[in-house]
C-alpha cells in the first residue's frame, strides 16, 4: 500500500520541460566552450592550430606544449618555462592568505566580543577598504614599499595582499562571530581563559566554514592578481600571472598558441583545485552567518 503524498511540484507540461532543459543545456555548452578550446588546443601540434580549425579535436595528441610551457618556454631572458614563477606565486600566496585570514579572524573576534567605543565606525572604515580600487593605491603603495625596503620582493607583495585582504576577511569573520553566542565567551572568562586562549580554544575550532570561505576568497584573488604583481614584483619574484602575460605577449619568434593555452591552464589550475576541494564548504560558510542555527 502506498501512502498518498501531496504533490507540491510546480506542474509543467512535458513539452515545456523539454524546452527548459534544452535551453539550459545550450547555456551550459556555451559556457564550457572556452575551456574546451583551451584544453583541445593545448594538446595539438602548432600546425594544426595555424592551419585553421580551432574547434576541431586534435588529430595528433601531444603533451609537448604542456612540458614546454612548464619548463622550457622563453619568458623574459631565460628559457625557464613557467615553473619558477609558479613557485614564486606559491611563496606569495600561502603566507598572504594565512596572515590575512588569521588577522581577519582576530579582528572579527575583537569587533564582536570585545566591543569598545566607536567599534562599528572602525568596522565601517575597514569595510570601506573593500571598495578602494587597486589603481588608486599603486603609487602610494610603491612609495611605502620603497621606504620600507621591501620593493621588488616577495615579502613586499605579501604585505600588499595582506593589507588589501584584511577588509574582506574581517567582514567575513565579524559577521560569522556576530551570531556566535557571547555567553560562551563569558563562560570562558569565568573559567579563567585569557584573550588568546578564548580565541584559540573556543572560537577558532568553531570557525571552520568561514575560514574556508576566507581562504578560498583570498587564494583566488591573490593568485589571480596581475596588477600588483606587475607593479611591485622584481625580476625574481614575479608571480605566475605576470609570467603568463610575458609568455603570451612575447613579440619575437613564432606565436606558439598551443604552449600559450597550456600555460593559461597551468596558471588557472590551482584556483580550480581549491574550488573542487573546498567548494561545497564555500556556499555553506557564506550561508552560515546569515541564518541563526
Amino acid at each position: 500500500m502506498s501512502v498518498a503524498t501531496q504533490d507540491t511540484a510546480i506542474r509543467t507540461g512535458r513539452v515545456v520541460r523539454t524546452l527548459i532543459y534544452l535551453v539550459l543545456l545550450l547555456f551550459a555548452l556555451f559556457y564550457m566552450l572556452p575551456l574546451y578550446v583551451m584544453v583541445v588546443n593545448s594538446v595539438k601540434p602548432l600546425d594544426e592550430i595555424t592551419g585553421g580549425g580551432m574547434m576541431n579535436l586534435p588529430q595528433v595528441l601531444t603533451f609537448e606544449p604542456w612540458v614546454k610551457a612548464w619548463s622550457a618556454a622563453q619568458i623574459g631572458v631565460e628559457p625557464t618555462g613557467l615553473s619558477p614563477y609558479f613557485w614564486n606565486s606559491i611563496k606569495m600566496v600561502v603566507p598572504a592568505v594565512a596572515i590575512s585570514t588569521v588577522l581577519g579572524a582576530l579582528n572579527g573576534y575583537v569587533l564582536t566580543k570585545w566591543r569598545f567605543k566607536y567599534d562599528t565606525i572602525l568596522f565601517g572604515l575597514m569595510l570601506f577598504a573593500c571598495f578602494i580600487p587597486f589603481q588608486i593605491v599603486l603609487i602610494p603603495m610603491a612609495r611605502m614599499l620603497g621606504m620600507m625596503g621591501m620593493a621588488g620582493s616577495t615579502s613586499g607583495l605579501v604585505l600588499v595582499h595582506v593589507v588589501y585582504g584584511i577588509g574582506f576577511t574581517t567582514l567575513y569573520f565579524r559577521n560569522y562571530y556576530a551570531v556566535f553566542p557571547t555567553e560562551l565567551v563569558r563562560a570562558a572568562q569565568i573559567d579563567g581563559a585569557g584573550f588568546f586562549q578564548i580565541f584559540w580554544r573556543i572560537l577558532l575550532p568553531s570557525s571552520g566554514p568561514i575560514a574556508v570561505v576566507s581562504i578560498i576568497w583570498q587564494f583566488t584573488n591573490i593568485w589571480n592578481d596581475f596588477l600588483f604583481g606587475a607593479s611591485f614584483a622584481g625580476a625574481d619574484s614575479q608571480p605566475m600571472t605576470v609570467a603568463l602575460n610575458n609568455l603570451v605577449q612575447a613579440s619575437h619568434g613564432v606565436k606558439e598558441y598551443n604552449v600559450h593555452f597550456a600555460g593559461a591552464i597551468l596558471a588557472a589550475l590551482p584556483t580550480l583545485l581549491v574550488y573542487i576541494v573546498a567548494g561545497r564548504y564555500f556556499v555553506r560558510g557564506l550561508m552560515a552567518g546569515s541564518v541563526k542555527g
Binding site: P181, E183, L184, R186, A187, A188, Q189, I190, D191, G192, A193, Q197, R201, I202, P205, S206
Partner: protein, 370 residues
C-alpha cells in the same frame, strides 16, 4: 557582614542609571532569587557579581573581600547561563574540566573532580559526548557540573530553566533545590518566573525599574507585599487590587466595596490601624485563594467576611475552578474548590478571608496594612 555583600551598588551606561543603590546582604548557604520583569536589571546585577559587568559605584564583597575590579576568574564564583554556554567543540568531560585546566590544576586532580561531579549529577555515561548530542535536560546537568567542579564560594544562575519545556522545568527545579539542600552552597539565581522564585529561594529580591522593590522570605513577599507591583507580580493568578473606601462600623474599620450592581458591601479589616484612614480611598488587595465558597472558608481565620456577588465567568482548571466577578468596577478572580457549585450569570455567596487582605495607599501604591 554577610557572605556576599552588595553594598550601595549602582550601574550606569553613560548618563543612564539602570541600577539604583542596590543593598543586599546574603548569608552563607542562602538561596537568593532575583526576580522581576524583563529589563528590571536583575541580569545586570548578576553579571556585576560575576565580574562580567563593571560596578559604577558602590561595592560588592565576597567573604569580606572587595570584588570591585577583580577579574571574573579570580572571584571564585561559577555561573550557569541561560543557554548553558557549553563549548560546542569540546566533549562533556572537557567542558567540565576546562575551568580547572585554565586555573592550572594538574590532570589527575582534574579527572578526579570530573568523576566526582559526574557521579553526583549522574552524567558519567555522557562524558565523551559533544554537547550537540545531548538533550536539553542533559545539557543543563553538564552546565551545572561545570559550575560545581570548581567548588566556588557563590553559584550564579542566569535563568537556567527558561530554555526547557514545562515538564522538564519542574523536574530540574526540584533537582536544583535538592542539590542546594545537599551541598548547602550559596546561590544567587535570576529568573522572571515568580513560581521558580517562590519554590526555590530562601529569600527573594523582587526588582523593577532598577530598584529592589522588596527583599524578604517567600512568605513575607507573598503575605505582606511592600507595594502593588510586588503584590501583583508574585502569585498566579495575580492578587486582586480594587478600589475601596474605609468606614467605621460598630467601632471597627471596614472596607466598603461596590459589587456588580453598584450596591456596597462592607468587608471588616483585621487591622485596627486602618481606622486612621476612615473616609479615605484605598486600594484593597485580596489574593484569589482567599475568596471561596462558604463551606471552604478557612476555619482558623478569625475574620471571614461574607458577600453575595454575581459570577461572570467560571474557568474549571481541574484542581481548582477560577471564578471571575466584578468588585469596585474591576474584574476580580476567586480560586474555588473544583467541586464548588458555581454557574456563570448566577448570584453566589462568597466567603472572604479578610485576615489575609492587604491595603495600599492609592497615591504611593505602598502597603499600609498589615
Amino acid at each position: 557582614m554577610g557572605f556576599l555583600d552588595i553594598d550601595n551598588t549602582t550601574k550606569s551606561y553613560g548618563a543612564v542609571e539602570v541600577l539604583h543603590k542596590i543593598d543586599i546582604s546574603v548569608e552563607e548557604g542562602e538561596f537568593l532569587v532575583l526576580v522581576g520583569p524583563s529589563g528590571c536589571g536583575k541580569s545586570t546585577l548578576l553579571n556585576m557579581i560575576a565580574g562580567l559587568e563593571e560596578i559604577t559605584s558602590g561595592e560588592i564583597r565576597i567573604k569580606d573581600a572587595t570584588m570591585n575590579g577583580v577579574h571574573a576568574s579570580k572571584r571564585n564564583i561559577a555561573m550557569v547561563f541561560q543557554s548553558y554556554a557549553l563549548y560546542p567543540n569540546m566533549t562533556v568531560g572537557k567542558n567540565i574540566t576546562f575551568g580547572l585546566e585554565m586555573h592550572g590544576v594538574p590532570k589527575p586532580e582534574r579527572d578526579k573532580a570530573m568523576n566526582d561531579v559526574a557521579k553526583l549529577l549522574q552524567i558519567e555515561q555522557l562524558l565523551d559526548r559533544k554537547p550537540g548530542a545531548l538533550s536539553g535536560g542533559q545539557r543543563q546537568r553538564v552546565a551545572m557540573g561545570r559550575a560545581l567542579v570548581r567548588n566556588p564560594d557563590v553559584f550564579l544562575f542566569d535563568e537556567p530553566l527558561s530554555n526547557l519545556d514545562a515538564k522538564l522545568r519542574v523536574d530540574m527545579r526540584t533537582e536544583i533545590k535538592k542539590l542546594h539542600q545537599k551541598l548547602g552552597t550559596t546561590i544567587v539565581y535570576v529568573t522572571h518566573d515568580q513560581i521558580e522564585a517562590m519554590t526555590l529561594s530562601t529569600r527573594i529580591a523582587v526588582m523593577n525599574g532598577g530598584y529592589v522593590q522588596q527583599l524578604g522570605t517567600p512568605q513575607e513577599i507573598y503575605d505582606t507585599p511592600a507595594n502593588i507591583f510586588v503584590a501583583t507580580f508574585m502569585g498566579s493568578p495575580a492578587m486582586n487590587v480594587l478600589p475601596a473606601m474605609v468606614a467605621m462600623e460598630n467601632g471597627k474599620p471596614v472596607a466598603q466595596v461596590a459589587l456588580h450592581d453598584g450596591t456596597m458591601t462592607s468587608l471588616p479589616f483585621s487591622q485596627n490601624n486602618m481606622a486612621d484612614w476612615t473616609g479615605k480611598d484605598i486600594l484593597l488587595g485580596i489574593r484569589p485563594e482567599t475568596i471561596t465558597d462558604e463551606d471552604a472558608a478557612d476555619r482558623k481565620s478569625s475574620n471571614i467576611a461574607h458577600m453575595t456577588n454575581r459570577i461572570i465567568v467560571t474557568e474549571p482548571a481541574g484542581s481548582d475552578t477560577f471564578v471571575t466577578m466584578t468588585m469596585g468596577g474591576k474584574d476580580v478572580i476567586a480560586r474555588m474548590r473544583s467541586d464548588a457549585e458555581v454557574k456563570a450569570g448566577a448570584d453566589f455567596s462568597f466567603a472572604v478571608n479578610m485576615e489575609k487582605a492587604v491595603a495600599f495607599d492609592p497615591e504611593t501604591e505602598t502597603r499600609i496594612a498589615p
